[in-house]
């Protein structure tokens, strides 16, 4: 019984990690409908910010997290003004091409600056080890991930999704021309949303180092996972991503535990089956 609980908890924690690295994408792709394969590149930016501050400048890990969020946001805002805003209307194929190009360039830059080696950061003592609850040992860092994921979900779902701003974003995506014609400053709305989504990506990247490690191919590495989460959650719904990540985590970890022979098939089988029967994802709005 307690083992089952431990496995469940691992699943939840893994799901929350998935959510944290993909929540930014469920903003940029899900809400803005921007096929943002560069999400991973921004996650990598956040990761390297944390790495640079924690491992090179000696900051405490927790203090680097807000900086990872804000710095990535700022960098994304600059690139948005310089580049990304020109491709919102060029169609998803062009967006694919452009953002893949961006990941290439970002990845090469990271390799040049930080080298190809896998980086890690030192965790504060409170986040290493585990908390014992009866017979179950709950690893502290995983508990921490779960907590942050909950905070972000509440923040994004209530701060962005169910607000007038959220409706403005969706309106702008539905029909840019008409949204402009009715007085919405589509450029500003998109810039803000894009920066916010990228900031969240950066935060996710920073939090993921401990589990996934960090290297210049990080951006490609997490791409498939985050796409799966967003697709399963459904476009336009951050809450959907949360639920999808949770299901995915529990299903994947539980599946590996009970039928390890299928270990590498599970995630894909789950996705293909779910999307076949629910193409719009769990809570898709588009």
């Amino acid at each position: 019984m307690s083992q089952l609980l431990a496995v469940m908890f691992d699943g939840v924690a893994f799901g929350m990690l998935l959510f944290l690295i993909s929540v930014g994408l469920s903003v940029t792709l899900g809400m803005m409908n921007f096929t943002n394969l560069a999400h991973g590149a921004f996650a990598m930016v956040g990761g390297y910010v944390t790495f640079a501050l924690a491992s090179l400048a000696g900051w405490p890990f927790l203090a680097t997290l807000p900086v990872a969020f804000l710095a990535t946001m700022a960098i994304a805002a600059v690139f948005e003004r310089l580049l990304f805003r020109y491709i919102y209307e060029t169609g998803e194929l062009n967006q694919v091409l452009f953002t893949i190009g961006f990941v290439f360039t970002a990845s090469a830059t990271a390799a040049y600056v930080f080298g190809t080696v896998h980086q890690s950061v030192d965790m504060p003592a409170v986040l290493t080890g585990f908390i014992e609850l009866g017979e179950i040992k709950l690893p502290s860092y995983r508990l921490f991930l779960v907590a942050i994921a909950l905070v972000i979900t509440v923040g994004v779902v209530y701060g962005l999704e169910h607000t007038r701003f959220g409706a403005m974003v969706r309106a702008s995506v539905d029909n840019q021309k008409v949204a402009r014609g009715l007085g919405l400053n589509v450029n500003r709305i998109f810039a803000l949303t894009f920066a916010l989504g990228s900031g969240l990506a950066g935060l996710g990247g920073a939090l993921a180092i401990e589990v996934l490690g960090l290297d210049p191919s990080f951006g490609f590495h997490i791409l498939v996972l985050v796409l799966i989460v967003v697709a399963l959650g459904g476009l336009g719904s951050v809450w959907g991503s949360f639920v999808a990540a949770l299901c995915l985590g529990v299903f994947d970890v539980g599946g590996k535990y009970f039928v390890p022979e299928l270990g590498s098939f599970l995630i894909y089988l789950f996705m293909v089956a779910l999307l076949f029967f629910r193409p719009q994802g769990l809570f898709g709005k588009r």
């Binding site: 060029t90 967006q95 091409l97 452009f98 190009g101 961006f102 290439f104 360039t105 293909v272 076949f276």
Partner: protein, 325 residues
């Protein structure tokens, strides 16, 4: 402006002198001017064929796939395994690969034609990951992660050996690509090709005029898979290698990048995109093996910013402008 409908349609489908020039150049340039690049040229021809197969479904029928390499890989394994098991005759190997990949495409097609958009993208992607895992699991047949061993390609027509100089490989790859191109060119100018475009534009309306959307889509998907399989088989035969990665995501993504780079829905976009991408990669990575992809990234971004309809789209616009002025 002429509104003679026959003239207009015939004009749209005519063979332009540029096309003839292109194919003559494709034959002559590598052999005569760049004989040291024959290996690259044959792989370009092979990948261009693969890219055309993607253009058929993506550019014309609107089926966005991030997993088309699965069929490329299936073809490669089909031909490779056939050869490793003792039958290395190349042309029959191609045929075999075409049938196997086509069959796989037809079966997967039942699923593909029922979904669109992101779900389609993700399902194709998921299927290709599953394909990799299946091939990894059946390593007795496929050689698993080490790759398939023992491929031996017999002489072409019993005469020409596939040597490291690449003369035979290129002739073979170019010849097969050209035939497939001709076939696809016919297809896109046929009523069937027009129907595909219409389904891509508005499936609701095609249904209302009586078109069986799914049947058409499944058929083109099958055909496209088969062509991808032929391309995979050619690569297996000319390089005598097949690995799991031929089925994988990176291969799928790369071919999509080449297609979009060249421009979708015009066949030549697939060819031009492949040439530019592969030549750029060859040259850049030769110059700077560590950071070459920085420049590839810049190239991709530039193309989107300045040529949103792909390189060929931009060339067409330019040509149209020049002919008008």
């Amino acid at each position: 402006m002429s509104t003679d409908p026959h003239l207009w349609l015939r004009h749209k489908a005519r063979v332009s002198p540029y096309e003839v020039a292109f194919w003559i150049a494709a034959l002559i340039v590598p052999y005569v001017l760049l004989p040291k690049y024959l290996a690259l040229a044959s792989q370009i021809a092979i990948m261009a064929t693969f890219c055309i197969s993607l253009d058929l479904i993506l550019g014309y029928a609107g089926i966005i796939s991030l997993g088309h390499a699965a069929f490329f890989g299936i073809g490669a394994y089909a031909a490779g395994i056939l050869s490793a098991r003792g039958w290395g005759e190349p042309l029959s190997g191609l045929l075999f690969a075409a049938v196997v990949a086509g069959l796989a495409g037809w079966i997967i097609g039942f699923m593909i034609v029922r979904v669109q958009h992101l779900a389609l993208l993700m399902i194709t992607l998921g299927l290709s990951f599953l394909a990799v895992e299946v091939a990894n699991t059946f390593d007795g047949l496929t050689g698993g992660a080490d790759g398939l061993l023992g491929i031996d390609t017999w002489k072409l027509f019993g005469i020409w050996k596939f040597s490291i100089w690449g003369h035979t490989s290129y002739a073979y790859a170019l010849g097969v690509s050209f035939l497939i191109f001709l076939l696809c060119r016919r297809l896109v100018h046929s009523p069937f090709g027009l129907t595909l475009e219409a389904i891509r534009e508005n499936p609701q309306r095609t249904t209302a005029i009586g078109v069986a959307n799914r049947r058409h889509l499944q058929w083109v998907f099958t055909l496209s898979s088969s062509i991808a399989g032929i391309a995979g088989a050619m690569l297996a035969q000319t390089t005598k290698t097949v690995s799991l990665e031929s089925l994988g995501f990176q291969n799928s993504a790369e071919i999509a990048v080449m297609l979009i780079l060249g421009g979708t829905g015009r066949l030549y976009g697939a060819i031009v995109g492949t040439i530019i991408f592969m030549v750029a990669r060859d040259q850049l990575s030769g110059m700077n093996p560590k950071y070459w992809y920085f420049w590839i990234g810049i190239l991709l971004m530039m193309v989107v910013l300045f040529m949103p309809r792909g390189i060929l789209g931009a060339m067409q616009r330019l040509a149209a402008k020049m002919s008008r002025s």
